[in-house]
């Protein structure tokens, strides 16, 4: 009985502390708070949006062609009369999905390669690093541009191209982390008692790279939002009539100079919001993990 109350008091205090520390970190890292709110909103648009806005994003309605925002179509209609709001909502869903896959592929692939290369070392590591250097010599967007131009533009090539363009960054960071960890006493101890290599990698090295991987996943997502939209804007990404934010901006481009702003402006705002979300999250994660910025 006494113990019971004591425990509940402790848990209450703990909850209060946790709450206080959460509100403190929100004050200290306002970007994290804003980023999380934005992420929730974007997820809401991507998941619930297509359920609420029932009109088909591919339906052409010649009667409404080039019509501005109205009560029926709040974001207006495009050149062939399609509902821009519906297209934006579906595009956010598609872009978010592709972005997540790109970030996942680039971070897990890159982190694994960096982990193995750093731990195993030797000739394989040297050859791999030279290869990474070569990849790093190309500006990322340019690399992705060429790869999609060569292999054809579909979602699979975009994921591959951006994955190849981004992963060198994380390969290097993870490898550097592993190189410094490899000589750490606890790894040495693990090796001394005969722990198998794979166990060292999975149970001792991997957990120590989580934070880097997480921060990079957010960073890559921000890049991917802009690069996918940029590729599609140039016609080298996802092709119309599939609703995609960058391709929609391109479709509206020629109407911008004749004053029909809604065709490009709305998709662009959502590109910006998505990129902003991941930038804020990535930045605050990096700041929280980098002791130089921590106070």
């Amino acid at each position: 009985m006494v113990i019971e109350t004591h425990r509940s008091a402790t848990s209450k205090r703990m909850r209060a502390t946790r709450l206080r520390s959460a509100s403190r970190s929100a004050r200290q890292y306002p970007g994290l708070l804003l980023g999380s709110i934005l992420l929730a909103l974007i997820l809401l648009v991507a998941i619930a949006g297509p359920l609420i806005i029932r009109s088909n994003p591919l339906d052409t309605m010649p009667r409404h062609a080039r019509a501005g925002p109205s009560a029926e179509f709040p974001f207006g209609n495009d050149a062939s009369g399609r509902d821009i709001l519906s297209r934006v909502v579906h595009a956010v869903r598609l872009d978010l999905a592709v972005v997540c896959v790109v970030a996942l592929v680039a971070t897990t692939g890159g982190a694994l390669i960096g982990l193995l290369s750093g731990y195993v070392g030797g000739l394989a590591d040297q050859i791999l690093m030279r290869f990474v250097d070569i990849l790093m010599a190309f500006p990322g967007f340019l690399l992705a541009l060429t790869v999609t131009a060569v292999l054809g533009n579909n979602v699979k090539t975009i994921v591959f191209a951006l994955g190849v363009a981004y992963s060198p960054v994380i390969i290097r960071v993870v490898r550097a982390q592993v190189l410094s960890l490899r000589e750490a006493p606890f790894i040495e101890a693990a090796r001394a008692i005969g722990t198998p290599t794979w166990e060292i990698i999975v149970f001792h090295l991997l957990p120590n790279t989580w934070s880097i991987v997480l921060a990079h996943a957010a960073l890559f997502s921000a890049w991917a939002v802009l690069d996918i939209a940029g590729l599609s804007f140039l016609g080298l990404g996802i092709k119309p009539p599939t609703p995609e934010l960058g391709a929609m901006t391109a479709e509206g481009a020629e109407h911008m100079v004749s004053g029909r702003w809604w065709m490009s402006v709305f998709p662009g705002i959502f590109i910006m919001l998505m990129a902003l979300t991941f930038t804020l999250l990535g930045d605050s994660l990096r700041d929280m993990l980098d002791p130089r910025y921590r106070k």
């Binding site: 010599a137 500006p139 340019l142 100079v257 662009g268 590109i271 910006m272």
Partner: protein, 312 residues
């Protein structure tokens, strides 16, 4: 890269021959040397490259080298104005944010930085066009570097603003500047957050150094410390990341030149990519990558020159 471009799915011969019969395809294949083994084509390309011959574009039907030479000044001019603008605004803003770290000013500056990184350049260009061309009618139409009615100044450097000044042609200068305004603002918006975030991070690092504390202990006004010692020392690190800014510049220029129909190398690359123009794509990649490597190499050397600590 050579092999990559030769796996382009589109068949350039069909683009060239129009309605192609088997014989005409074969004829053009032989003309372009595409019937020979890929390795032979590769070595031939490398031999030509060593002589500075980048091949022939089949979109413009001219040597790629001439195309690039004609178009490079337009891109350089745009890049110079864009970079200058971003440095002019980004450096002070980054310094201010660093000095006022974790105050409201810092948070606002960081939000601007985050917003800047997140804004798609092509979209910003379009919005600027809508506001300044359609609504306010301040900016000229987004086609080319000069209005049709304005005579081009005699060619000296290829940079129209410089050439028109050299020729004393005020009208051409104002016109060229007007055409440059929106594209360079767009490009600057791409670079500015990079410059700003970098300046801020470096400055915060430098301000925590012992010699700054010493200087403050000696009673030197903080403003003077920031503007002399701290700025000087952060410039070193900022310099080394010029390569990073340059990468943004290349990617940005393809998109920005596309939006403003700017007759530079970026637009050329875009046309080449969408038309399967092997020679032009390869040339663009080789030129930009070499420049990129060169820029990074020069900054590395400069780093050693200005920072005696890393000289060995």
């Amino acid at each position: 890269m050579f092999f990559l471009t030769h796996f382009l799915p589109g068949n350039p011969i069909l683009v060239r021959a129009g309605v192609a019969t088997a014989e005409s395809v074969e004829l053009i294949e032989r003309q372009l040397g595409l019937d020979r083994p890929l390795s032979e084509q590769y070595f031939e390309y490398m031999r030509n490259l060593a002589r500075g011959d980048l091949g022939k574009s089949w979109v413009t039907n001219r040597p790629v080298r001439d195309d690039l030479r004609d178009r490079l000044p337009a891109s350089i001019e745009l890049a110079v104005y864009g970079t200058a603008l971003s440095l002019l605004l980004g450096l002070p803003l980054g310094m201010l944010a660093a000095v006022k770290q974790d105050t409201l000013i810092d948070h606002v500056a960081r939000l601007i930085g985050a917003l800047g990184v997140s804004t798609p350049a092509f979209w910003l260009g379009l919005v600027l066009l809508y506001v300044f061309f359609f609504l306010l009618k301040w900016a000229p139409a987004p086609w080319g570097r000069l209005s049709v009615a304005v005579a081009e100044p005699p060619l000296v450097t290829g940079l129209l603003t410089l050439d028109s000044l050299l020729a004393g042609n005020r009208e051409a200068f104002a016109n060229a500047l007007g055409h440059l305004a929106l594209p360079s603002i767009t490009l600057a918006a791409v670079e500015l957050p990079v410059v700003m975030r970098l300046t801020r991070a470096t400055m915060i690092d430098v301000l925590q150094q012992d010699y700054i504390t010493t200087a403050r202990a000696l009673g030197i006004p903080y403003r003077r410390i920031v503007l002399t010692d701290a700025l000087q020392n952060s410039m070193i690190s900022i310099l080394t990341v010029t390569g990073l800014i340059f990468a943004f510049l290349i990617a940005g220029s393809v998109l920005v030149e596309r939006v403003f129909s700017w007759p530079g190398v970026g637009l050329y690359a875009y046309r080449a990519l969408t038309n399967n123009d092997f020679a032009a794509i390869q040339a663009f990649i080789i030129v930009t990558t070499l420049t990129y490597i060169l820029v990074n190499w020069v900054t590395d050397i400069l780093y050693g020159v200005v920072d005696p600590r890393i000289r060995t």
